[in-house]
Symmetry: C2
Subunit: 246 residues, 2 copies
């Protein structure tokens, strides 16, 4: 529990490679995660060379964490391998569709989280890169991902060279519903987000971005409607190119 | 690592309730998981009453594990709460789109896996129900899920009343790619799946289903193309109804 409860994303790593035996060990623990029908619809691409990391860096919007990391793990929803297995076993696969993609994506993320926990248990630090879905098409090209695969998330990993404070979360009662979903009143919302809004870091953030409220930093700067709509459209196109929407 | 490596799904539970303090504690650990921009785009609905579990059971295809479990945790991609926060803070939210749904789904599954690991650390057993996406529309009705939410996965949870053997996995080298994806030859596939195909349980499974190969049990019985296509279409419709595809 302590390991889970003390989790914090690491964005600055020591200049120290990760032994391949360690990587193999954490991925071994990763694939012990539950997987639909034990189909294991995922792959993990490990990028460690300067050449590949340099190509991936702009696709992750040049986040400093990417340049700092000795390794990037791209977690790929993968129906390709299972489909090939069907094809050589006189079975007609039917996994080139959205449900199969989403099932594979769930499998993939369960593995990713197990890998991250195993990594932290080894003293490694991790940071998820949400940018993977934004630039899936370009990542597919760089990593030679075949049809019937899709990169779902990427984890930057290495030995921590910083020790950040824990990140705030809204109270547990704000995310749990007993028996049925109890929708939130305005007062509920105000109460749940009061702590976050009151943090000095949040106030600084609002000031630096020249906004009036913390929510505006999200809607106007970090996660804008126009960007979300642009990348939604792009993600659909890529799902089609990868033959998940035929 | 031992906890991760010894994971096995539990499908038969003791007739023993889970204390709400335990549930709160494992969900507390759950929400320590990484989340995009610390937006926490998820909710967890805990179902423990006979009435709600009885209604959910057929939606999970009457799997015995559902009837046996003292609690079901439905993990919900939730942009509703964050959108409400924006609305009362003079910010114009832009999260009614596919990318935001998928981002929320990733957040949600990271929490689910943390909750499962925390639960196992408490001596509880878990089983993921992949059926959630199949019948999302009906689950939404039963759990009163509002627009801008979507049930991504469900976990049956309780104290184990069985101790199954570990489940087989293909070798780690079958899922890891170094630097770039190395696509699989027929010989690669045969080697990776040889162990699974050779298991007595697999042979029995093929025989009982009157099939020629193990792969045919998947394509003709368990995960059929026609079912996948039907539920893909349905999932899209529900995403639209929940206002993620406007």
């Amino acid at each position: 529990m302590e390991l889970l409860n003390q989790h914090v994303s690491i964005r600055k790593f020591k200049d120290q490679k990760i032994q391949s035996s360690v990587l193999n060990s954490i991925i071994y623990s990763g694939i012990k995660a539950s997987t639909t029908g034990n189909m294991q619809l995922y792959s993990v691409v490990v990028s460690e060379t300067d050449d590949v990391i340099r190509k991936l860096t702009p696709l992750h919007f040049n986040q400093p964490v990417v340049k700092s990391a000795p390794a990037l793990l791209t977690f790929v929803a993968d129906v390709n391998r299972f489909t090939k297995w069907c094809n050589i076993n006189e079975a007609t696969p039917g996994y080139n569709n959205f449900l199969s993609f989403f099932t594979a994506a769930i499998d993939t993320i369960l593995v990713a989280q197990n890998v991250c926990i195993a990594a932290e248990n080894y003293g490694l630090g991790i940071c998820y890169l949400g940018t993977t879905t934004y630039n899936a098409r370009e990542i597919i090209q760089i990593l030679d991902l075949p049809k019937l695969t899709f990169p779902v998330t990427t984890v930057a990993i290495g030995y921590p060279d910083e020790a950040p404070d824990l990140t705030d979360r809204i109270p547990v009662k704000g995310v749990v519903h007993w028996e049925k979903y109890a929708d939130y009143s305005d007062d509920d919302i105000k109460e749940l987000y009061a702590f976050k809004e009151g943090l000095e870091a949040s106030k600084k953030y609002v000031f630096e971005n020249n906004k009036k409220t913390l929510a505006q930093v999200f809607t106007d700067v970090r996660y804008k409607k126009s960007d979300n709509e642009f990348f939604s459209q792009k993600m659909f196109e890529v799902l089609k190119e990868q033959e998940f929407l035929i």
